[in-house]
């Protein structure tokens, strides 16, 4: 109830503030640092050597610029949007399903890429990505990206599964036992996109062009596929550490997951590996975005430059099992990442990944699509067995 009140207030605040900041301008030069910068980030995205002394990309920045970095962790995209609506923050590492909401809500301001010297080193594939580049304006600086891979137990699969059908259709696994009860799926409505991605490959007659833009028929087909999957899945995974536990103690054999869990399980000597099957995969791409009313714009710009130029890109990609937005970070030895490491994390699979974005009712490919709030209610129904 408290959260409802909070989001109600946030909504109201958002509405009132949105009106005022409609006409905003870009910064044209960077002045003196303000002494601090407040960042909303995913857990593990901002490390200052406190979790593991080897992973530190904040201390150097603070010493160099005199800007103290204040971190606020957020666990979901919705939390990030809510925090940014409340205000008091300068930067946020937003995923594609949050970034467009914030651009539409005028919570973030355009970024002047000319003020960021290392902008030229950013991956060409990300520079004008639709989740932060809107109507010819940059609203974010690419930060990190990664695929939602298929994790499998190497005890059960002698070789990597070729298709996502191991988690979508009833079958016997190579060890002769059925997959029922031994596969998992993500406990978020965005998983409907994984089903759509599978159908895009196997039922071309549906005419799906993007798993995030589905008309009623395509959407119904995806839900049908997921209803079949419900019979195979005992528990949907929500928390990364619960899934790790399930692969250790519940005899799980295959599931869609983040490279993060694969790395941790392999580090624990659990016999698992990951792959991107023939259908491709969904994925996430995060950008650093700047609040419309940021109080520390100079330190913010310094941080954005730091995020591209320093050891951050390289070490964070090792830490999180993700891919740097600056390809050179894989090879130039500024941190611990290597070319092989980047390949493992999926650096070469960019084109096979459909990045998370929020499904909206007015979509580009076919006029009207099923909006996200229906994804939520229908996915609750699917998990409930409806």
């Amino acid at each position: 109830m408290k959260t409802i009140l909070k989001s109600g207030t946030a909504l109201l605040l958002g509405l009132t503030v949105a009106g005022q900041t409609a006409a905003q301008t870009m910064i044209t030069e960077i002045g003196e640092g303000e002494g601090q910068v407040n960042i909303v980030a995913w857990p593990g995205y901002l490390e200052r050597g406190e979790t593991d002394a080897a992973f530190d990309w904040i201390t150097g920045f603070e010493e160099k610029t005199g800007c103290k970095v204040n971190i606020k962790s957020a666990n979901t995209s919705d939390e990030m949007v809510a925090l940014m609506n409340e205000g008091g923050f300068d930067l946020v590492t937003a995923s594609g399903d949050a970034s467009l909401r914030m651009v539409a809500g005028k919570r973030v301001q355009p970024i002047n890429v000319d003020l960021i010297p290392s902008w030229s080193t950013v991956d060409e594939r990300l520079k004008e990505a639709p989740w932060h580049y809107v109507d010819g304006t940059h609203y974010g600086v690419p930060y990190m990206w990664g695929p939602n891979v298929l994790m499998y137990s190497t005890d059960v699969f002698p070789e990597a599964p070729k298709s996502w059908d191991v988690v979508f259709t009833a079958m016997d696994f190579p060890d002769g036992k059925p997959n029922q009860g031994r596969v998992q799926a993500y406990d978020g409505p965005i998983h409907i996109a994984d089903a759509a991605n599978y159908l895009m490959f196997h039922q071309p007659e549906l005419g799906i062009t993007s798993p995030y833009e589905l008309n009623e028929d395509q959407y119904a087909a995806a839900l049908d596929l997921l209803r079949g999957q419900r019979k195979l899945v005992s528990r949907y995974w929500h928390d990364a550490f619960i899934q790790i536990d399930d692969f250790k103690n519940e005899g799980m054999a295959a599931s869609g997951t983040w490279p993060f869990q694969v790395n941790l399980l392999q580090g624990d000597k659990t016999p698992v590996a990951s792959t991107i099957p023939e259908e491709g995969a969904t994925g996430w791409a995060d950008s650093t975005m700047m609040h419309a009313d940021a109080e520390n714009p100079n330190c913010s710009y310094m941080w954005m430059e730091h995020s591209l130029a320093s050891n951050l890109q390289s070490d964070l990609s090792v830490w999180f099992g993700a891919n740097p937005a600056v390809p050179a970070a894989c090879t130039d030895g500024r941190g611990m990442q290597t070319a092989e490491g980047c390949t493992t994390n999926g650096m070469d699979d960019f084109d096979r990944i459909k990045f998370w974005t929020t499904p909206v009712s007015s979509c580009e490919s076919q006029g009207t699509c099923v909006p996200y709030y229906r994804w939520v209610s229908d996915y609750i129904g699917v998990i409930g067995g409806r």
């Binding site: 109830m1 408290k2 109600g8 536990d245 519940e250 005899g251 229908d378 609750i380 409806r386």
Partner: protein, 313 residues
């Protein structure tokens, strides 16, 4: 020496304030009550009404934007099969947990109230209260490990050659699943463990108030133990049971963390509220969902009050 002379001799603002308060006790009480009344009125009732108001709005099917016009459409949505399932599932679970806690809690409380003395009484209190000291999440996660397919409980069944029995039980639809930790039974067990102290303590309090002589009188009049229990002990202890059930029922009704960690991923009311207000931006439906437990508890408390449950709190 007159009264006025006495008062006039005292100076200073604080002393005057003290005098005023002494002369007008009503003012003192008003000032003392004001902060909690404001707290209740604004923070608690205010948020409650904000919630109620939200539930009478609706979301536009087409654009997903909230329409601030009075409608009952959102409440009608609660009766859609997938949503109604959630309500039924939560209420059945809450009722099962309450009954389970009463059945297990009663003998424990009876022992503590009648037989435990001295050191054992202290140990009893410690035993009941200790689970409340450790973090809720730690308890739930350890239960996940206990109930896991490769966990200790399953191992015990296998060692005793009762694995088949467990599997036969888990094959039952609805309450079963692939392993205990992904079944509704697992969710039930964890709920039961986490909330049972809230059942034991009120029952014990009410049992201690039952005079021992009544039980003896019942026996003297020829009642068998079962009859004494049914006709003497239970009616006298019932307010305690109902007081405990208010806790277990409402706590289960509102919890959204246990079913997320242990169970079949099928949603409970709390999780539905969380999902609708957070990820979907469908605040009206979340508010309507949140009203359901409030209504259920209102009815429940009304019945409990008539049974005299609040005398045993």
């Amino acid at each position: 020496m007159s009264d006025s002379a006495l008062i006039n001799r005292r100076g200073g603002a604080l002393a005057q304030l003290s005098d005023t308060l002494w002369r007008r006790p009503g003012l003192l009480i008003f000032l003392l009550i004001l902060p909690p009344a404001l707290w209740l009125g604004i923070i608690y009732l205010g948020s409650l009404f904000a919630l109620l108001a939200q539930s009478f709005f609706s979301i536009d099917e087409f654009t997903g934007i909230i329409q601030y016009e009075f409608t009952l459409k959102t409440y009608a949505e609660l009766f859609r099969p997938s949503n109604f399932d959630i309500i039924i599932r939560t209420v059945v679970m809450a009722a099962a947990v309450t009954i389970g806690a009463a059945v297990i809690g009663f003998p424990v409380a009876y022992y503590a109230a009648r037989y435990a003395r001295g050191k054992w009484k202290a140990i009893f209190y410690l035993g009941v209260m200790m689970p409340l000291w450790s973090s809720y999440l730690v308890k739930v996660y350890s239960w996940k490990l206990i109930l896991a397919k490769e966990g200790i409980l399953n191992w015990l069944f296998e060692t005793l050659h009762l694995g088949g029995l467990l599997n036969a039980y888990l094959a039952i639809p609805v309450i079963g699943g692939n392993s205990l930790s992904v079944s509704a039974t697992g969710t039930f067990l964890v709920f039961l463990y986490v909330w049972i102290p809230f059942m034991i303590l009120p029952i014990q309090a009410s049992l201690e108030r039952v005079p021992h002589t009544m039980i003896e009188a019942s026996g003297d009049l020829g009642a068998r133990p079962a009859q004494t229990f049914r006709h003497v002990l239970l009616p006298l202890a019932l307010p305690g049971v109902i007081a405990g059930s208010i806790f277990t029922f409402s706590l289960t009704l509102g919890d959204y963390i246990i079913p997320q960690i242990v169970g079949s991923s099928r949603r409970f009311i709390g999780q539905a509220v969380y999902a609708y207000q957070g990820t979907a931006g469908n605040i009206p439906l979340a508010a309507a969902f949140a009203v359901v437990p409030i209504l259920l508890m209102a009815v429940y408390l009304w019945v409990a009050k008539r049974q005299g449950a609040f005398d045993a709190l």
